[in-house]
């Protein structure tokens, strides 16, 4: 078999590899074919050909029916037309049909402005719905803090189902019913909150329309900001700054840390802090725990625990392993705890008069903040969680011209951070940060080498044996819960002799969180966000958590030492077994 095939598309010849789809061949010729259900994530080497929406149909010589470009492989001599009247007519009819069973609520839709269906409708300019008829009537699931499911807007692309079952292997979504009543649902169409959904939001990230969206809390933030009786502080997670700019026409991969801090101040926050500070704190606690376990050679491998999606996943699906994840809380919750104790005391207000808002790349953080154990005497450590997208919305709503803002710094004392905490935003970052601190602590030196390249990257399961203080530490890093499952199964079978494993629920880590600006399948954006994160780390004067002066101060003034009794009370948590249904 020859290694290229010759194909003609719209009278233009192109050579491509056998097995290439018409869609890919067309893109080589810079011919765009609309798609809705096609699901391909290059960085993760993932493709799912559902072929269900039929918006991508094209005419192929010699074929009786139109062919879906997204799943039809080319063959030698294939002659394709993407814009004949037959194709245009079919495409318009398909769009017409989709819209005929779609609530046309763009003006009040969470997805307004970033909806692929809306874009397509704008492009194709149907001036009316020709085939109107009965419409679906599903109850909207509003029963959890993180995700809203409005299946009336679903176009049955099945990406959410694939994301949940194949990428994440959480398995709460399935096609249900059939015919006109077919939809994607849970068992007995229960609300997500009744299931083992981990609120990772990967289904939301995959959804081309507004059927799955984040529970938007920006209005609650506005209310809080305008409450004269409350002091309102904000923390922003590491991955937010690497993506927020995309909402304001910055090139992907532009870090907008300073502008973001400025904008938050303009929005009216009383103090603008950084979750990165808490990430350094996490490293202090987690590394202490790691060294203890290594010394005792007990409960290994240590699993990181800063991702609430991942935490909920193992609570449901691996209850026999609850003793190995680190007991350290996530940075978000450490921040909340410090804000409502240390900081509140410092500025002399009652914790109940302090409102902590988080800006997260993540939907699971919305859920995490609502977990019972993260409040004391009825006061939550983190009051409101909004996503990167919601923050962008607020900035726009406030009329702030983000692009032109001067850079500003975070406030003190919960705003100082190191390069170690910055990289939390990418898969591999938490472990690398821990290694930097562990290496110093174990050798008692201030080591120069801080770059642990082998653990970096976005995809697959990455393993490395790193020499730390003369010890060989076998570590692994992965992201995406499907990969996590593989590692956990190895541990269950006793086939994994790792010392530490970093796991993040979202493929690639938080930079690909469910609350980030939509990439709509363009994973090159993730690579750029990642580069931005590592560049920021490189540019930081301090790159090790334990060197963060404010962290040192925090221990001096308040927590005493890592792993102290107070640290345990405020910065550590317990896991519970949850139904594996």
């Amino acid at each position: 078999m020859s290694n290229t095939v010759n194909v003609t598309i719209n009278n233009m010849p192109v050579k491509v590899a056998p097995g290439t789809t018409i869609l890919e061949a067309a893109s080589k010729l810079e011919i765009r074919i609309p798609t809705l259900c096609h699901f391909k994530l290059d960085t993760f080497d993932f493709e799912h050909r559902t072929g269900s929406c039929r918006i991508c149909v094209v005419e192929v010589d010699g074929k009786q029916n139109l062919a879906p470009a997204c799943c039809t492989p080319v063959h030698e001599g294939m002659n394709v037309k993407t814009n004949t009247i037959r194709v245009i007519n079919a495409r318009r009819t398909i769009l017409d049909l989709i819209l005929s069973d779609h609530p046309k609520e763009c003006l009040t839709c969470e997805q307004n402005g970033s909806c692929q269906l809306q874009d397509l409708a704008a492009e194709m300019g149907l001036n009316k719905i020709r085939y109107a008829g009965k419409t679906s009537t599903y109850k909207i699931d509003l029963a959890n803090e993180a995700i809203v499911r409005d299946m009336n807007k679903c176009i049955m692309c099945r990406k959410c189902e694939v994301a949940c079952n194949e990428i994440q292997t959480v398995g709460v979504l399935s096609g249900v019913n059939r015919g006109f009543n077919a939809t994607v649902g849970t068992v007995s169409n229960r609300p997500l909150s009744d299931t083992k959904c981990v609120f990772c939001g990967q289904c939301v990230a995959a959804c081309p329309v507004g059927a799955l969206s984040a529970m938007n809390r920006s209005y609650d933030v506005w209310v809080a900001l305008n409450n004269p009786k409350k002091k309102v502080v904000v923390q922003t997670a590491p991955a937010v700054r690497a993506a927020l700019g995309e909402e304001f026409d910055f090139e992907p991969g532009t870090s907008v840390t300073g502008k973001m801090a400025h904008a938050l101040r303009l929005l009216g926050f009383d103090a603008v802090f950084d979750t990165d500070f808490a990430a350094d704190l996490t490293i202090m606690e987690e590394t202490t725990e790691l060294i203890e376990r290594v010394k005792a050679n007990k409960n290994l491998p240590l699993l990181t625990s800063c991702c609430p999606g991942w935490v909920k996943f193992f609570e449901h699906q691996f209850p026999d392993l609850l003793h190995i994840p680190s007991s350290a809380k996530s940075p978000q919750q450490m921040f909340g705890a410090m804000a409502k104790t240390y900081y509140a005391k410092k500025i002399g207000i009652d914790p109940s008069d302090l409102i902590v808002v988080s800006v997260m790349p993540c939907l699971a953080k919305k859920y995490e903040a609502s977990r019972e154990e993260f409040s004391r005497e009825g006061v939550r450590d983190v009051d409101i969680v909004i996503s990167t997208r919601e923050l962008a919305g607020m900035i726009k709503e406030a009329g702030i011209l983000f692009k032109n803002l001067e850079d500003q710094d975070f406030d003190n004392p919960l705003g100082e951070s190191t390069g170690a905490s910055v990289i939390f935003g990418s898969s591999g970052g938490v472990l690398e940060a821990a290694l930097r601190t562990a290496a110093d602590w174990l050798t008692g030196e201030d080591l120069e080498a801080v770059d642990y390249e082998p653990v970096r990257g976005l995809s697959g399961i990455r393993e490395a044996t790193v020499k730390v203080a003369g010890m060989d530490l076998k570590v692994a890093v992965t992201s995406g819960l499907g990969n996590a499952r593989k590692l956990l199964e190895k541990i269950q079978k006793g086939e994994a002799d790792y010392t530490a494993i970093e796991i993040m629920a979202c493929p690639g880590g938080c930079l690909n969180g469910g609350g980030q600006p939509f990439i709509h399948g363009d994973t090159s954006i993730l690579d750029k966000r990642r580069d931005a994160i590592y560049a920021e780390d490189k540019g930081k004067p301090i790159r090790k958590s334990h060197k963060n002066p404010d962290i040192i101060k925090l221990y001096d003034e308040f927590l005493k030492e890592p792993g102290s009794e107070l640290a345990h009370k405020l910065l550590h948590t317990k896991y519970i077994t949850r139904d594996n249904t």
Binding site: G51, N65, C71, N89, T93, R178, G179, F180, A182
Partner: protein
């Protein structure tokens, strides 16, 4: 255990000789259909009679599968082996049993005498005046399907012996290819080609699947074969396994066919005991076994990729081809899926050769086709005809025309994927290509005859409703598009149609055909398009005159009592389920139109034809 080809022949000779049958053999048609029509009491009476009269050495009873004489069930055949004579009765009642036992092949009064319209391939001499040729149904209704010996006495498993002992896999594929056999499941894909594709792929495991999902509503050919001759399918699957290099087979059967499942299970066990399934079949290196897999009520699972997903325990949603099952099918391994009837042809082709097979049928569609002839036809039944037989012969010769002497209007072939063929095409020979040219298709063999009382708009709506019910819902054109087609048809039958509806109907039907993911959606608009092509006037009357010419669409009809004809007998008023007819005795009655539910009961009740429908 049969270990060699010779073993089998010896065994065949032995049992054939030993069974020098009793003088009289009575075959009782014990398919689901026969049982439903009441054959069991007839059988009981016959058995009782034999007991009482001490005839057990003289008369044998064979409980066979279906004879295909649906119109006259319960049916039996009485054979006098000595005299080489036989007689077939229909509408047999238990009280006829004793008479039959004493009269043998001499006709008795009471049951209907059946005029045979079929011959068997081994008996070409009886071809004269027989429009039917029973190749697929060669054993169905003749042998006891629960007896492997009876199958062997019909030369059963000799084809398997021949393939394993004398032929290479290539030879087998070649002879199926040469025979020109095309898939009987509907698509008409050349079976030999399918096998050769699967054979060409190398893999550690391959699968042979039998599609016994038979979802076409109003079709029951595959059920009859499985109930009447299960070994034929088993033998064929083993042959296919050898040909493509598969050691595992599966039969995907509708859960609605319990009797077929039971008989298959019995047959599989017998085949295993005799060594026709299992390890080293016929002493060769070939291993093969078959599992039964159950459907669970989904028409779309007849589509081969959906069928495979269903066996894998998933929702029966079709997936895009390529990859074709022959390359990546069950558990991603090369897999062939063939229909029951396709398989049932195989042993005969192997035994008698491709050339023999090609003498039946037409050059492009060799062989026979089994049809379930039903609807408004006099002789509803299971018929098998050589390809090329005309529709007219089917309907008027075999089916003996329309019931109640109504006018023939159309015949629907291909079920919900097919189309309506009208009187003007009645001379069309039945084969894959001519039916497709008429906008219909062969389908699996359902053939529903319609008369002047059938509203063609309503028929199109019926098929669309079926499609809606059975669509998997995966792709847009089928999930939403067919819903819209249905809604438009519903509008027309309810007097809400406009000229626009007609345009939209046609446009949308074409796009659905052109863009749907699987065969279900690609063919679901056929009933609409073919009725639009052939009965546009009927659509127009519904739309412009708001009338249903056939008097079916109840929103468009009204029952009225003609005062001058009404005798005031009150019969209609007493029968009306909603009591909306009033009138004094012996005075003309009237219908309260606002309450009438148009059930038609009064219309049928009135002995004086005083009620009109228009």
């Amino acid at each position: 255990m049969i270990k060699t080809n010779k073993d089998l022949l010896q065994y065949y000779n032995k049992i054939t000789k030993e069974s020098s049958k009793n003088d009289l053999e009575i075959i009782v048609s014990m398919g689901t259909c026969g049982i439903a029509a009441g054959t069991t009491p007839v059988l009981d009476e016959l058995k009782k009679g034999i007991q009482e009269k001490g005839l057990s050495n003289k008369v044998t009873i064979t409980e066979s599968g279906c004879m295909g004489l649906c119109h006259s069930e319960p049916s039996i055949e009485v054979i006098d082996h000595k005299a080489s004579k036989s007689i077939v009765y229909g509408d047999v009642k238990p009280e006829h049993a004793l008479d039959i036992l004493s009269n043998g092949v001499n006709p008795i009064n009471g049951p209907t005498l059946i005029n045979r319209t079929w011959y068997y391939p081994e008996d070409e001499s009886k071809k004269e005046n027989c429009p039917q040729a029973r190749v697929v149904l060669r054993n169905t209704g003749r042998i006891n399907p629960e007896s492997i010996e009876q199958y062997i006495m019909q030369k059963g498993y000799q084809a398997l012996g021949k393939t394993l002992c004398e032929m290479s896999p290539d030879d087998v594929v070649k002879s199926i290819m040469d025979s020109g056999l095309r898939g009987r499941g509907g698509g008409g894909f050349p079976t030999g080609k399918k096998w050769s594709l699967a054979k060409a792929v190398s893999a550690d495991q391959k699968y042979v699947l039998c599609n016994a999902d038979e979802g076409d509503p109003g079709a029951f050919m595959d059920r009859a074969v499985l109930e009447g001759d299960p070994h034929a399918v088993i033998e064929a699957m083993a042959i296919a396994g050898y040909a493509i290099g598969a050691t595992k087979g599966g039969i995907y059967i509708r859960a609605e066919y319990p009797l077929a499942i039971k008989r298959l299970q019995i047959a599989l066990n017998q085949a295993r005991e005799m060594g026709f399934l299992g390890k080293n079949i016929f002493g060769s290196a070939f291993d093969f076994d078959i599992e039964i897999k159950y459907g669970a009520g989904a028409f779309v699972c007849g589509e081969e990729t959906a069928l495979i997903h269903s066996i894998e325990g998933m929702r029966g949603e079709p997936s895009f081809k390529p990859p074709f099952p022959a390359v990546a099918g069950l558990w991603a391994k090369p897999t062939i899926v063939n229909n029951v009837e396709t398989y049932a042809n195989i042993p005969a082709i192997i035994r008698k050769g491709a050339d023999w097979f090609k003498t039946i049928g037409t050059p492009n569609s060799p062989g026979t086709k089994v049809f379930a002839l039903a609807g408004k036809i006099k002789k509803v039944g299971l018929v098998e005809v050589p390809m090329g037989t005309t529709l007219g012969d089917m309907i008027f010769k075999i089916g003996e025309g329309i019931r109640n002497d109504r006018e023939f209007k159309a015949v629907q072939t291909g079920g919900p994927s097919g189309g309506c063929i009208t009187a003007k095409s009645i001379d069309t020979p039945i084969d894959y290509d001519s039916l497709r040219a008429l906008g219909s298709m062969m389908g699996s063999g359902g053939m529903i005859v319609m008369d002047e009382d059938d509203c063609m708009v309503n028929i199109a709506k019926y098929f669309l409703e079926f499609t809606l019910d059975e669509s998997c819902g995966k792709c847009t054109p089928c999930r939403i598009g067919n819903t819209r087609l249905y809604e438009m048809l519903d509008d027309i039958t309810k007097g809400r149609g406009t000229q626009q509806t007609l345009f939209k109907l046609r446009d949308l039907a074409h796009v659905i055909k052109d863009t749907s993911l699987c065969g279900l959606g690609q063919s679901s608009p056929n009933p609409v398009l073919s009725t639009l092509a052939n009965f546009i006037d009927e659509y127009e009357v519904h739309i412009y005159e708001k009338k249903c010419p056939a008097g079916v669409c109840r929103e468009l009809i009204q029952y009225t009592i003609e005062a001058d004809k009404c005798t005031g007998c009150t019969l209609c008023a007493r029968n009306c389920p909603v009591s909306c007819i009033s009138g004094e005795r012996k005075q003309p009655h009237v219908i309260d139109q606002s309450k009438c539910i148009k059930c038609g009961v009064c219309y049928e009740a009135c002995k004086f034809h005083a009620i009109t429908k228009n």
